[in-house]
Symmetry: C2
């Protein structure tokens, strides 16, 4: 059975990607990161998602928070909005510097030890257009670098970075995940959840998620503060 | 003053690179990693090297050891040889999967927060010809990827990965470092040092270092077990 390393955040996108990789016949090696996020709910969700789908789930502590520079890891307020039209197209303060580069690099290290040639990541260029490391050209450049960085590349095995959601709308992602049995109640996207685990409903990520469910004609099973 | 992030291992090469970056007029932000090495002497050396040269020295704990797969981080014996001619051209067991990719990714994250456009790494393609991530084509591909991964790249600032030692012989590196006042007594290259800090003199890295000093016509000031 071919092995795949899957970056699993506990969010809607990565849960869907893991289900897609499993449906493609891969044996799943899921990897999640505690990277100085201000809340740990997404890691609880990652653990729930990995159950029954992943052969192994590795949780790695990394130290990006010590660099600062993002509302997700430092003491900067997460912006809240009443409506999705208020989202600006510039780099959001929630951008964590080089985050996907660091995450993929750990996945690459693990893939090399596992002798896996496939890495899956749930980046999306439409929803996260302000994040440089969610663009197709980044994924392509990473894949090219990865093939030069590793023994697999030297030996002619082709390392592939799969980003199957990259051009999908949130509604398409949700339809895909529901068809594959993803339990979205056990995923979270909120940048600033309440202590009881309820999502705020007003950060960029909540607004994108709620619009996705609305466009998909489905109800988000995850609890929100004002639901 | 322009800022540079310098990967500093505590070895001979990275100490030399830091001195070269300083001589080029950069303000130095050194970064070292505790990545599950079986000994910590190289980090002690990194701290000594950073004194007086680095504006800031960040020590980051990373979890590569949990992936296994290398004699430097797992319970695999470090090979010992009587003579440098015994070194084989294949991938050595001391290769740590994706190590330089992971290290550069942390450097990239820090560079982005610091607004630095320059990262220095002491890779060398001659001595470490068995390591895929010490080759010029890897460094070029990493730089290209880094410019797509970051806000700096989007905004048209050019991120540069400097690998000034990549085509130098060990003897040339030593001459360069001595000219810049590097104290090589406070660097270590040994993969398997004795508890008192003495180098073994017989691992691949010690043999390459000793040959470098011999070729340079200099005496290695670092203590060896059998000296």
């Amino acid at each position: 059975m071919k092995k795949a390393v899957v970056l699993l955040s506990g969010g809607l996108d990565s849960a869907t990607v893991m289900a897609m990789a499993q449906a493609d016949g891969y044996e799943i090696y899921a990897i999640s990161f505690h990277y100085g996020q201000r809340h740990s709910m997404e890691l609880d969700c990652a653990i729930e998602q990995a159950k029954g789908r992943a052969k192994e789930h590795k949780m790695v502590d990394i130290d990006l928070g010590s660099f600062g520079g993002s509302a997700l890891t430092a003491d900067i307020n997460v912006p809240k909005h009443d409506h999705i039209d208020e989202l600006t197209p510039s780099i959001p303060v929630t951008y964590v510097p080089a985050r996907n580069t660091v995450f993929l690099s750990y996945a690459l290290a693990w893939a090399e030890v596992l002798d896996a040639s496939d890495i899956f990541i749930g980046v999306n260029a439409l929803d996260y257009s302000g994040y440089p490391d969610c663009r197709p050209e980044f994924i392509e450049a990473y894949e090219r670098m990865a093939n030069l960085a590793t023994v697999a590349g030297i030996e002619g095995r082709n390392l592939k970075i799969h980003a199957p959601l990259i051009e999908m709308t949130k509604a398409e992602i949700i339809h895909q995940g529901l068809a594959l049995g993803v339990d979205y109640a056990k995923t979270t996207s909120c940048y600033d959840p309440a202590p009881n685990g309820y999502s705020c409903g007003h950060c960029d990520s909540c607004l994108l998620r709620l619009k996705g469910f609305k466009d998909a004609g489905e109800k988000d099973p995850h609890p929100y503060i004002e639901n």
